[in-house]
């Protein structure tokens, strides 16, 4: 295996650890002598580990990005994209990712455009991905995201994509959540609930599962507070939690004004 391949492999492994939440492990394992991509991965771990690191992480990533020697590294750009996405600075994300370069960068672009509610741009980005490899897992996933975002009959197609995944691969909470989200958008909350409970069985702490269960239970008229408090406990930073607390504040504010 060439050195480049090895680095790429390590990046994937460490990113997997990050996805599993093992930030400390990644931070410990990658020492300062590691290659740039691995350093970038470490930065991501640092960023996600604690809010205190945010500023240092952002400043160092900016520094690296401006370094002509390494600034163009694909993984560095990807990590920068992810971090700025967390910062909700989408312009900044696009600055580094819009050129694409890997399927991952392209998929990230699709996601950013969707976050910006610009499904037209997302669609263009997706077309680029389709030209590269239409059957690529990321292409399919990104298609599903876009389909869900534009809604209507496309939701059916998104569902079929997740269905294909579930036939091809093991059931993961990503697939189950994807299916459940499709079902909810199609108004089929009962089925969505069954998928979500299946996902909950696999991972009782998965934040998206919990968040979607809250939504699903609300629609089914079932009590949802248990899932919400679980989510609040395990992932206080989750979008839904923030949403709820923001909503509470805005309600109180609105009551004042009326």
């Amino acid at each position: 295996m060439s050195e480049e391949d090895a680095i790429e492999r390590d990046c994937l492994i460490y990113r997997s650890y990050i996805a599993l939440g093992s930030y400390q492990l990644v931070i410990h394992e990658i020492d300062s002598s590691a290659a740039t991509p691995l350093q970038a991965v470490k930065l991501l771990a640092l960023y996600l580990l604690s809010a205190d690191n945010k500023e240092t992480v952002i400043s160092s990533i900016r520094e690296w990005l401006s370094d002509a020697a390494i600034g163009n590294n694909l993984i560095l750009r990807l990590i920068a994209g992810i971090i700025f996405m967390h910062e909700q600075d989408y312009n900044e994300v696009l600055k580094y990712t819009n050129a694409g370069g890997t399927m991952e960068l392209n998929a990230l672009n699709v996601q950013v455009f969707l976050k910006m509610h610009r499904s037209d741009y997302a669609e263009k980005q997706l077309r680029v991905m389709q030209q590269i490899d239409e059957d690529h897992t990321l292409t399919q996933l990104a298609t599903a995201w876009l389909n869900l975002a534009v809604g209507g009959s496309k939701i059916q197609e998104a569902y079929l994509i997740f269905q294909d995944f579930s036939e091809k691969y093991q059931m993961t909470s990503l697939i189950l959540n994807g299916k459940a989200v499709c079902c909810m958008h199609m108004g089929n909350f009962d089925e969505a609930e069954s998928f979500l409970l299946e996902a909950l069985n696999k991972d009782a702490k998965d934040p998206e599962t919990l968040a979607n269960l809250v939504v699903c239970c609300l629609h089914l008229g079932k009590p949802s507070s248990r899932f919400l408090s679980q989510l609040k406990l395990s992932h206080p930073e989750h979008m839904l939690v923030k949403r709820v607390s923001a909503a509470e504040e805005s309600f109180d504010r609105a009551v004042q004004t009326v």
């Binding site: 990050i18 600055k95 980005q125 209507g152 079929l160 939504v215 008229g221 309600f251």
Partner: protein
Amino acid sequence: MLTKFETKSNRVKGLSFHSKRPWILASLHSGVIQLWDYRMGTLIDRFEEHDGPVRGVNFHKSQPLFVSGGDDYKIKVWNYKLHRCLFTLLGHLDYIRTVQFHHESPWIVSASDDQTIRIWNWQSRTCISVLTGHNHYVMCALFHPKEDLVVSASLDQTVRVWDIGVLRKKSVSPADDILRLGQMNTDFFGGVDAVVKYVLEGHDRGVNWASFHPTLPLIVSGADDRQIKIWRMNDSKAWEVDTLRGHMNNVSSVLFHSRQDIIVSNSEDKSIRVWDATKRTALQTFRREHDRFWILCCHPEMNLLAAGHDSGMIVFKLERERPAFSVSNNSLYYVKDRFLQLYEYSTQKDTQIIPIRRPGSATLNQGPKTLSYSPTENAVLICSDVDGGSYELYIIPKDSFNKGDTVHEAKRGVGGSAVFVARNRFAVLEKSTNQVLVKNLKNEIVKKSALPIVTDAIFYAGTGNLLCKAEDRVIIFDLQQRMILGDLQASFVRYVVWSSDMETVALLSKHSIIIADKRLVHRCTLHETIRVKSGSWDDNGVFIYTTLTHIKYCLPNGDCGIIKTVDVPVYITKISGNNIFCLDRDGKNRSIVIDATEYLFKLSLLKKRYDHVMSMIRNSELCGQAMIAYLQQKGFPEVALHFVKDERTRFNLALESGNIQIAVASAKEIDEKDHWYKLGVEALRQGNSGIVEYAYQRTKNFERLSFLYLITGNLDKLSKMMKIAEVKNDVMGQFHNALYLGDVKERVKILENAGHLPLAYVTAKTHGLNDIAEGLADKLERNVPVLPSGRSHSLLIPPTPVLCGGDWPLLRVMKGIFEGGLDSVGRDAPEEYEDAADADWGEDLDIVDVENIQNGDVSMVSENDEAHEENEEGGWDLEDLELPVDVETPRATTARSSVFVAPTPGMPVSQIWVQKSSLAGEHAAAGNFDTAMRLLNRQLGIKNFKPLKSFFLDLHTGSHTHLPTFPSSPIISLAIERGWSESASPNVRNPPALVFSFSQLEDKLKAGYKATTAGKFTEALRVFMSILHTIPLIVVETRREVDEVKELVIIVKEYVLGLQMELKRREVKDDPVRQLELAAYFTHCNLQLPHLRLALVNAMSLCFKAGNLITASNFARRLLEANPAEAHAQKARSVIQAAERNMRDAIQLNYDFRNPFVVCGATYVSIYRGQKDVLCPYCGSHFVVSQEGEICAVCNLSVVGSDASGLLCSPAQIR
């Protein structure tokens, strides 16, 4: 040509198919007639009585007879059951060319080189007519299949058609024939029985063969001029229609195909040719290297042909008869003629879906071969051999089945085989390059993938995977990872059948079936002597398959057996319970009911489902030697035990399964030495000493018994045995026992008694029994043996047994095996694969294609401009007017990062909701609480929003789902919209789907009623209040529903008011007046009848107790009107009676039931008609004027008496 069977022999001159059995007769130039079974490929019989070549042979249609004619001028009639010739018909004066039975009359027609055709009656064994007229050898003479006609071909270059109608009339009885025999000679020239009807002239050389069309008035003939001529006839004349040229040498035989519109001919040019009978064009030619063809024969019922040549014969078929089909859930898609058909198993309904392209008639065997169906896209792939393998893709219109005749526009392509690999992807095999092309439904190539082995066909193997078949192996190939997932040696696989869970696969080849799991790990192989046709998995994992003749099963362990026989080949499509659904060769769906007991029993046995096994044994007739043998062979003698009544078999089975109890019982029944012995051996093996002892006792096997007592340490019995031996005068036994017992004296005594005095002396001496030794020495007259000196000696006493008596403990192992054991072994294996597959995932992500990136970049940038134009047309994107200025700058030329300008963010869906809607619920869902509140304030005068907080929050929380996206990146939240339908167009935003629905409220209302009935007023009040609080945020679709919602407000408001008063009443226990008033007011709330009754009963008894009899009797009367239960009615009547006797009210109440009134929602006082009141703008409750400006006490939301526009809860109200 599909060759079904081939023989090697001397030149074959005559052939005949049996009409029912799979038999064919071949008469050889060597004089032998062979009877073959062409299905099994075996020679059944040989008939050798003719002298010289046999040219003609023919089976009788119904009798076990056949006729042959040879160069020995003899016509022989044979009985194949008796294996002998019955009789010989003599009369011809030269070689006999052909013989044929008539289809109903007892006649044989024969053609001979003596220039005559003779018709014989084989019952009277006489010649009944001689047809003269040909003036050269007659090469062939055949009856018409229906009419009284004979056609003959002769070397005189003519074909003649003879009318034999007169013959039929004349020959009514055999007696007539004999009478007419004398006459015949007189008729020899110019006989009247059979007259030449037509003489067909046209061939330039001798004609070898002529035959009728099975239904039409046509004749086809083949001659030495290498031509085939078609003739037509009517009542008065016959004429030549056309000539088929193409054969390079003498045409030896020609006939019309019985089922297709084709002519088949063969010739000495070593070829068989197929011609289109209508277009009269050559369709196909099959050549042999060295063999000239001599004879052709068509099966009377089936689609089979046979041809005889210089070195044998072949049985063949021109076209495949297997319908192309594909099963999808509950339906079967298949091709019949030129239509795609749909068969639904549940309803057994057959529908024509779409017409497909007619199979090209330019060549044969071009019909659809395989069919692949994608249920989600409703698309069908049909593959055929056209153009060396090609496919057609049809998309079935969803709405209506197109029954018209217009052929659907199909997308076509060339490829060895094509099959769906995902819902909208199919793989096409490109044989020339050994590649698989993955295409989308537009028939565009999406991906190419080289195959790792030389593949001649591909099959589906789960989403994204292909099963590729090479000559000697099959592999499963992952199209995405481009790696082999499984590999199995399997030669000439023809069909692949997956189980419904895609865990197991059956690979069918001509004579074998291989069963493997989803990674092609071999499970078992079956071999069949008869060709395997089709198969399908049943729900229990049993593979049911058909051969040409049978329906059979195959269990997961490879055990197989016959379920039933079938008359004609069928192709199984699906199995559901005891029903087998199949297609036959005519494309008809059939359902065959089978008896599944046997294989289900064996399956249960295999799966250790002993409960099933036992219930099946109890409930069904499964006995039989075969089953017992099976059970024994499979190691389940204990199960077989349950079947068997015969004691000997039972005994053996019991021994085999180690069941001593049953064996003992059986042994007692049988009571034979042999069986006792066997029982003893088994019991000893198990350490069951009781039974061993018993068995030895029964067999009187004392030596063994003694030894048994010895090893079990049973000394008492051992000494008893010694006595028995003594009684029986068994010296040896006695001595043994004494030895076992260590009883030296006894031993010495025995030896002494037996006369072995020296031995007795030595024994006594050795063991120190000196007295006895002395005595013995005396008897020996001092002639004593000398004991070896210097050796120490000791008495050998039998060691104490480890276990004396009792049975050895046995492990109860049987149960354990039944429970699990083996199962778990089976389960482990597949898991390993999964893990392995797991580990490899994700490697495919790293495709870095430099060119593509750059291209993508450029095209993306240049597309930006268009994108914005599109947006303006797009409609919903309202805010898009401020186009980013930077879009105009040409960026394609400049560096990437510095100049790229991100698009401005679009509008979130929730914002669109807010813009489009003026319904409070939708605003709340969008999170715009302030506008929602403003709306509610305006519409319903709501001022107090505190109670609505949770509802607002729920609406907002439930408005978006959360889609996990890119790993470690923030999720996307997506707005849930209302009223989704399959046909909804994308990018058109619908209003939000709210978490509250009207139907939920109805359910809540019912819950509230229930709580009220049960008397849980606090609970009921809570429910009703929550309804009242939800309604302001509800959204419904139609006007009618709006009215229902408004009604609901009134209903609920009444209950809330009523329940509040009732609760209040319970608080004011010490104020009887107030109590009575509140109870009375409660009865005036608009309640459901049962609740009203309860309120009335309550109010009535309260008033009665308080002595307010008039009021009470009023309640009683109202109660009686309300149709109460008998007990209450009784009470009401007595109240009324009591009141009539004593018309008075003890307490003055603020309650006049004669005067209509409403109750104030806050103070609970009656407001009589005409008095001034104020209303709650939302719930419509009445209040005394003083309450104006307060928050409504009923709904706790609105300001009493404020201005409001009214409830707005549906877009229908706004339109």
